[in-house]
Homo-oligomer: 421 residues x 2
């Protein structure tokens, strides 16, 4: 008998019919002998509708008020789900974030979980009940309701799985798992059966179906996460199709040699992309200690979130600093950069707002430099110019023209043979 | 500087525009130097919509789940109201029932307040903030959310006014106060400027705009309650039009003689009515101790709520017992009564389902029997037959044919000259 934490997103529970369908799956998994704790998002587009309602009253709603307002979406879905499960003859109980013991800091709208005491969840599970928990929310020490921001319900589910020592956390969504690339862009993209936390983190950072924050938490606590579709038939929990995000086993030396698994590991897992990228370049920045801080501190104060930063090697003690921001922030970023440039004696600032990022992700890349050259060659052969390059341990990202982004994804998916198992 | 607790009902805050209008009134009263705590109901028909949503999932939703679901309606309205007040430049903070310190028993769907610790409300008021509280809800000792049942937000407001020692509780609604009769039935019905708790209780029991339970609480704690319209211009809080429900001063003997106030007090305050009344009569019940209990206990077990009970003087140790129930309960009541009748050896059961109740209310009636005869005469002159009579200290109720109910109300309103101040 396993303890499973399941999370259902808004699309999976958008109306009464879909709630009943999901309730059927939950009861099916309980009947198979598992203890089940369920985390739900708000139904369909409820959260957006509540935000719209708030904006019809106040252009910039107070964050504390907005949090209490938004938290009602998950209260509605968790009570309805508990009712639907009970209708099927199983025993269920709903819980607010507070009742589930989710304590957060006071950063309304983007609160972090500081402690999770699952004793009440545990007590109800021990009584044989299915526990349905409102995702996305917690309370501060002062009993003020907070929301966890984007990806909040995923974070609730993983945190709860960690606190309960669950066998695994199952994230059900409207896609059937994690793919080698976005199937809307690459028709022959293939679903992965498993992926490591770090690779998933890189994929997720560019739009995959789980929030990086929840994956980080899962990695830290070694919680296996199954990403799967909620629409399919339930089947056995053992053989459920989907993508398992977990600690990939590192083969020992002997195994490597005998099974050839080393090659299998050293490969690209997927291609991911991001539209709407803008690049700002500050030219001829005097290269002295502290100069980068004086560029980026004002951007932080101006609430501009910077993605990628590249600083070239300097010539004549002058260097070019480039960074990318979301297209929406480009105007603000350019204004701030121009002010800073004149203060620090840099030459000029230029921006390019029609860019996108394409990324290949895979473990072991750092030690196999052939990947970078294969990537650059594949893009070159397709006539796609690379504007900027950044790499990490398990990722290579190229900034290209947004108009060529889809083509870049397809070219790389083919170049790394991701359509083949 | 007074401390006022204001309550706004669902119709007064049914949309963003009306929320802004009410926010304007609140800020106006705060600017006049008052401390303000506000209790809000759910917007418009939200509660009914949530009940419908629950019923689309479960025919008989679990009461604990339903309570948490319904409580979201008031969370939405209190956060929006706090935002609207802040938009007008005043400082406001919303609170859930739990945050406002409202502790209840565990009777989900009809919980009673067992304790109210307003220290957080007080703290926020002391900081100069307007506090907006979600009505209709509280929490149990186990932190489960409960709702207070019908009239719940009125009860929240009065309880809070009592706990805070507020100068008065103001209940704003879509009518401008309490009338001598329903203006839809009696066009020349007159608004009362004041009324005692007990009279109001009798009026409210038959459909006036405040719940009897909230009035009982106000009477117990001597909280003056102003019932007024929310649509009018705010004006001065001192001279706000409406009906004040409070302890009517009892004149001393000397004053009575000199001012003639005694007469003024000994008068009918209003006429009220209830449609859809059914009467069940059990004939020839053996008149022995315990017999009435054996009739009414099974009705209680069958969840039938009995309004008025009349037992005639017995002849030959046989008595007739009549009682009224809501028309919707008539079938169940008749079935149960027939079973009981055969068990206790009564003759037969008959029912009449097309009745209504008309009631005159006024202090001092008991000591002035002329009122009863005037009431009976007025009805007789109009050709209205009286089916059943019950009286209390401050009320006389006649059960009449439902078809003649409106006419009965008009006749009595005229007979007691209620159109004259």
């Amino acid at each position: 008998m396993a303890l499973l934490v399941q999370k259902y997103g808004g699309t999976s529970i958008a109306d009464a019919e879909r709630i009943r369908h999901v309730a059927g799956r939950i009861v099916h998994d309980r009947a198979a002998g598992n203890d089940i704790a369920v985390v739900v998002s708000a139904m369909g587009s409820t959260t957006d509708e509540l935000i719209e309602l708030a904006r019809s009253i106040a252009a910039a709603p107070d964050p504390r008020e907005l949090d209490l307002l938004l938290s009602t979406g998950e209260l509605v879905s968790c009570t309805l789900m508990a009712m639907a499960v009970r209708e099927l003859g199983a025993d269920a109980v709903s819980m607010t974030g507070a009742q589930a013991g989710i304590r957060t800091d006071t950063a309304h709208g983007r609160a972090s979980i500081v402690a999770l005491d699952p004793k009440r969840v545990r007590r109800e599970l021990d009584r044989g009940r299915i526990v349905i928990i409102a995702g996305f929310q917690g309370t501060t020490e002062d009993s003020d309701v907070t929301t966890l921001g984007r990806g909040g319900s995923d974070t609730t589910a993983v945190a709860l799985a960690a606190a309960l020592g669950a066998e695994r956390c199952e994230v059900y969504t409207d896609v059937s798992g994690i793919y080698t690339a976005d199937p809307r862009v690459v028709p022959d993209a293939r679903q992965l059966s498993e992926i490591g936390y770090e690779e998933m983190l890189e994929l997720a950072s560019y739009g995959a179906k789980m929030h990086p924050r929840a994956i980080e938490l899962a990695a830290w606590y070694h919680v296996p996460v199954l990403v799967a579709g909620s629409a399919e038939e339930a089947g056995s929990t053992e053989e459920r199709p989907g993508t398992l995000i977990h600690d990939l086993e590192t083969p020992t030396g002997g195994e490597m040699a005998s099974t050839g698994e080393m090659e299998a590991r050293d490969r690209v897992s997927g291609v991911t992309y991001e539209r709407g990228v803008a690049r700002i370049t500050i030219r001829a920045v005097p290269d002295r200690p502290g100069i980068v801080a004086s560029v980026f501190e004002p951007l932080t104060w101006g609430n501009v979130s910077v993605d990628t930063i590249v600083q070239n090697a300097s010539a004549d003690r002058l260097t070019d600093v480039s960074f990318t921001v979301a297209k929406a922030d480009a105007g603000a970023a350019l204004d701030i950069s121009r002010r800073v440039a004149s203060e620090i004696g840099a030459a000029e600032c230029v921006s390019d707002t029609d860019l996108g990022a394409v990324t290949i992700v895979g473990t072991g890349m750092q030690n196999a430099p052939g990947y970078a050259s294969r990537m650059f060659r594949a893009l070159a052969d397709a006539g796609i110019n690379i504007e900027m390059i950044t790499t990490s341990q398990i990722r290579i990202t190229c900034i290209v023209a947004e108009a060529q982004l889809d083509e870049a994804v397809r070219v790389l998916h083919a170049a790394f043979e991701l359509d083949k198992p």
